[in-house]
Symmetry: D2
Subunit: 465 residues, 4 copies
């Protein structure tokens, strides 16, 4: 896997660290001189180097008790990572790395793998993708997503069995245990798991599947974590992840999820999870995707029933019955969830065969450009939203998702709150019932502690009819 010598273990004032170097495998071992040089140069570049340092630290502290990203940065202030060039390939130097990633001076094999994945993906993004300059069409964005996933070796032509699980990273114990039970039932049926790779609902299904896979002697299990630079530090990969992919931004990460998934399960989560549901429904409501099988199950323990009921009501009100027909809500029945998902994926397989689609990438799914481009919630952008009945459902879904995103920003994100302070509440144009439902949903999230608010909740928007 790797070789590490000349290792120096030191104990700083805060925590013990290790300095060593390792030689990567898995695609980084057969590089050309020029690639190594570009990799070295790219990683030495200021922005890229800081990104690499931050992601590497997240991986090296994978599985630590704390979920606070800043903690890692503060606990290991002297940590650094350098990519060096040799004719035999790259050599990665770690300075003052967390000792928890090592055993008797040897880096843990799985941690090393994730570390190589970080270098691989950041380099690929920086060197090969040329993000920003040429990704202007929908097709070229999809192509970039595909190539990054292929370069990460997570596209492989086996039978469809990849279940993407969405849900909150800070959920209660009852909900966490439930995600493990669902993962266990999926694993018993030979399903592999893909999540956002953090804790909570992103870890539980993998943990449950691990035990089931062991029982079923399921070899070559895949626990795929898809993340992006903005959140990897906050949602450090859990130790079960054995394939890590770092997409360049949130939108490409979402596209990676929906194109790789053979089915999606949504557990209770915060506002982000609600946004993800709207993202997916918006896409599925496109005419082009009408006949496409896409198993989608919303599920949680008994205590989560109200959460899903409210979301269900909101979707029916805004997007209509056609949207509600796209998902199934199952409460407190992990086995049923797994059975339905398995049956759904069987249909996906049949359809892919009938249409000669690939098993490993859902090319047929139409993802319109607006769903691929980032949304920046300025006052202008918010005022331009159009939340009225009568619009095409997928357009309304897109705008609802944006509204959601903006309101969340206005309430809890630093930059959004500053905007509200400076310019007053957002003005949103929409029908009264839609706006009320949206408002109700947000208040429920606050009550259920799914959205962290300092002080009382005060709406950051007002409705304009």
């Amino acid at each position: 896997m790797n070789k590490s010598n000349d290792t120096h273990t030191q104990s700083s004032t805060t925590l013990p660290t290790v300095s060593t170097h390792i030689y990567p495998r898995g695609g980084l071992d057969v590089l050309s001189r020029e690639e190594v040089a570009r990799l070295r140069d790219a990683s030495a570049d200021g922005g890229m180097h800081e990104l690499l340092r931050r992601c590497a630290l997240a991986v090296l502290t994978s599985g630590s008790a704390s979920d606070d990203p800043r903690a890692a940065q503060e606990l290991y202030p002297d940590f650094d990572i350098q990519v060096r060039q040799q004719d035999r390939g790259v050599r990665i130097e770690l300075c003052n790395a967390p000792a928890m990633a090592f055993v008797d001076g040897q880096i843990i094999a799985g941690v090393a793998e994730l570390l190589f994945a970080v270098v691989r993906d950041l380099a690929y993004t920086a060197i090969d993708l040329n993000i920003g300059t040429c990704l202007e069409t929908s097709a070229s964005i999809t192509d970039a997503v595909f190539r990054l996933l292929r370069n990460a070796r997570v596209l492989h032509p086996g039978d469809p069995n990849l279940v993407v699980c969405w849900g909150g990273h800070s959920i209660g114990r009852e909900e966490y245990e439930y995600t493990k039970h669902v993962g266990y039932q999926l694993g018993l049926r030979g399903m592999d798991i893909c999540t956002g790779c953090g804790p909570g609902a992103m870890k539980g299904p993998m943990k449950g599947a691990t035990i089931a896979h062991a029982k079923q002697r399921h070899r070559r299990s895949r626990y795929i974590g898809i993340t992006e630079p903005g959140i990897i530090a906050a949602e450090s990969p859990n130790p079960i992840v054995n394939h890590l992919v770092i997409m360049p931004d949130i939108e490409k990460r979402l596209e990676a999820f929906v194109r790789m998934a053979h089915g999606i399960i949504v557990f209770p989560g915060g506002v982000g999870t609600a946004e993800e549901i709207l993202y997916l429904l918006g896409i599925l409501l496109r005419e082009e995707n009408e006949g496409l099988h896409f198993p989608l199950i919303l599920t949680g323990p008994t205590g989560a029933a109200p959460y899903f009921e409210q979301i269900d009501r909101f979707i029916r009100l805004t997007l209509g019955e056609a949207a509600a027909a796209r998902y199934e809500i199952i409460v407190a029945d992990p086995e049923l969830v797994a059975k339905r998902m398995t049956a759904g994926i069987r249909k996906v397989k049949e359809q892919r065969i009938a249409q000669q689609d690939s098993f490993f990438f859902n090319w047929k799914l139409h993802v319109p450009l607006p769903f691929q481009q980032p949304f920046v919630p300025s006052h202008e952008a918010m005022a331009a939203l159009d939340l009225h009945h009568g619009r095409k459902p997928y357009e309304l879904a897109a705008d609802l998702r944006r509204a959601f995103s903006g309101i969340v920003a206005g309430n809890v994100k630093e930059e959004g709150m500053r905007r509200i302070e400076a310019h007053g509440p957002f003005e949103i144009h929409g029908d009264a019932d839609i706006m009320q439902a949206l408002d109700g949903l947000l208040q429920a999230f606050v009550q259920q502690r799914r959205m962290k608010i300092a002080g009382d909740y005060r709406p950051c928007y007002r409705v304009v009819r």
Copy 2:
């Protein structure tokens, strides 16, 4: 793995069951007509069939919450298992088997493996070993142990890395968590685990190692459970076990442990664990075994320190410093335990190479016949014990183990208690200080709830000088 059709799922008054048949793999798939016939006949025979039924049920309920063996028997009164003959091999028929061993009508692959192991070992013991008739010499018993282990395919010529873990099956949470931590540290260092395959200290180390093995990308992990017919029902294999061996009796099980182990770790346990320590020390104190490396570590969390201190004092008093030199006590330091064990096993490997011994079976270890023969604690047998200073340590160890075994029987085992009622307390010949120490040890076990006593503890023996 197996094929199962014509499956009928039924729900009895108590619990759901499944009736089906499966075709085994793993050594049972290439049988001769005669072997299949003998297997069928043997398993149809009254005693063997009941044994098979009981062990099979233990495996089929593996991982269930309850540890009470009778529970399984009572919950699935209609369960039955039959071995049928076909030219292509055997066919195993399950009637009213616990539904928990199945997923959508298909038996769980790992459960099927353990089930085949049960059939394999019981059949091998009944058909090939001819236990009882010809196992009269020490060498022939060792040979039988070897052949059974080889037939179970657990002897394989890789690098020495098998750590046997002993300890109680009903231990407190602090102690259980500790066994997991030790297993984790062992797993990080590439060690495989072998235990008695039940819950508690037999499960914890495997569970910890599983996570570490996943992190280290350690493939082909071995979680070997060695049991015997008398206890498998009470200590149903935990779901992590991926190699199950059923030895014919307690003594052969103990010999299997010490010949397969490259090192042994003893966690806190009941009287049984104390007996195991005396068994091993008795063997190691033999002159023939003097130069033999055999890493032996006694370890537990802080709360278990007094337990090991008392055992240590007892051993020093009775068997002397030479015995104490054979083990190391480590309190509350899982990493140190794993480091010492790894270093010890490195020495074992060097010695095996130097002496051209096999890596997978410790032929050089001398196990005298008295340690291979069962002890039945009658009044005569107990009176014949000779617990005086001045005896050879290994002889004293053997008699101490027997004394222990008898006293336990007199206090808690049905047959032993009846003997005491009928004939009065055992008379044991021994030096006063030895007897007092032994008594003190037993009382401590009672206080620490490591020995289950109904009512007050009343010694079932008296000392004769």
Copy 3:
């Protein structure tokens, strides 16, 4: 594979030799102390040791130009082999072994494998089978055949694809090239090859299949050679054989062929080949085997057409049309041979599935005891033959095979010729036309140089009506 050190290369007056020791794998690496001791003792025993020495030498000179067995014995008069005991298993010592089996002092891996196979099979026969004492029933003989094959690890539960090829070991170049073409066409269709493991028609099909398997990227190809102690020296395993089995005698070797075969191809050969055809037809004509699919193709190049025509006429005359219906003669069309065999084996597979038979051993084939017992051609035995029309075909086939065997012995085998000299020609009771046909067949073999005769051919029998 093996380790060899302390190697001494010497050059005797005749040929260079190597003395070294090797540690076996493949079933001989996990032995008990007792087994090693028995193996050592058995191989030290006079008869067994000489047998082992002779077979080992045949393997060590595998692929040499000369086919003369005595050559090897004379060229390496000082060769010896010893089996030594160690706790880690056996150690095989080679003294003055042919240097051609070594590369830079290291034994060639494939040669070592075949050598271990020799030790394995001779030991198994001597130690486990107890041949002679208890093999008195048909079932027990079949059981012994099965267990020896299983111990040799050639029974494996894959899809039926094993084609047994029979034919002469000294055939002309045109015929040899033809066997390669047939092997090539079989190999292109995924068939594995099993032969008697010598040169000529036993080597050609394997050689052809090797090239086809390489082209088809057919992994884990099996080139099984089944031999017996009496002929291994004369028909030293060709270098392509990767599974060697040494059956105890000719009859068990024949039974191994017909029970492992999914189909049989007969190339031109000497009298022995004709006997083999009669052996197989005799079995297939049994009522019990009536419905059993068993593809049997007689084939050769254009020049071999007369050979098969004559055999065909002889069979129709003696055994009738039912016998002729059991085989197909194909002249000069390797592709057709392979297509028919592939189609035939497809039917065999279907039948095995329908009847729940094993794929790897044809238990359903009824082989009567007379076909399992050796025939010693004394004057009494020959006079007892009953070659008249009207007998049941399978009985007539059995006696014809014996007549054949006896006549051959009377003409070319030392002991048979002595008998004829001492007691005059055999008296055989049979119908005139049968005897004439038999006589004609033999004369044709002489003319075609398929039977080596010193001087003119003079019948060694006379017909009694």
Copy 4:
């Protein structure tokens, strides 16, 4: 490997053909939509399509008796190949393809692999390399060579064991048998073989190694054929090749050889072989390559001794003793060749480790730009050659190679002969002894029938001093 249905087998007037489609594996199975489209477009483009068609036909007739490239084109005039697009990847359609590449309507797995290699390399060259536009520096050319080889998956980080064999494609039987013997001895020592992938000295070593690899149970053998579009049709890959690489031109093919080789063996050959020797010596004589281990052995049977003696004399005369010190000539001793090569490669490994070079690509070897650029032998270019003593040996080697190349062209290549007819003989500036030696060498080639001349040999140059 591939799936082929809707297969139509037709028999044209000339030869039987098959029309079908196949789905590729091995790097072509996970393509993006855009890549598939570019591949389809590129292969539909006139020049590329004709190239693809020609190379594909060469592969589909691999192993046919005839070595005449035009034969294939004439025998299968209706053959065509199309690359189609599907979401699951590419689909390759074959029309009127030679039936010899199919078995029962299914394409032979190995042929399919080579076919995919053709598509892969032509597409990679056309799409990714942008040959011509940006390959102006030595480093960028080396980089292109590296990337093409990596894309072909022939760079893998195992122990150094790759022996490149050079030599003529039309050699006599004695010489051909000799190349097999050398390949066999190399194979016995675990060496893999890389050649120009045609017949003769390019096939013999692979064939010999195949047998040795089988004997040594050497798995994952590599028989790498490196060719280029101009010669693949003339030197159709022999059927043993299991890795085929099509480099864009002769110079990149030569660089691929010398950078992948851990050692090179030169068998007798035509003028081309002499040129290759000069190419390699020219490079090795560069100061930068002085300390670099590079085993180079010239070898042939006894009959080839004069050939090598003459070459040796020529080299000593022109390039000096330093050049001669770079190679060893071994006559008629395959085992010695293999031993020396094995020992040499052991030193290569040590050096690579010491200098932290890669095992799979000889980055340290300095290949100057003149050796990477094609030479077009015009009268001007020939007149510019400077064949005088006193020049730096590597410069003289480069010019000698060019002189050679030009003289050959003037004598036997259509375009060169036309030039000579039009403008008279080349004028070459050089010292008399050098020119005489060169002349003598060429005449010897003619006598030994290593250079095909129509009519008498008449020098196409004259010396100018």
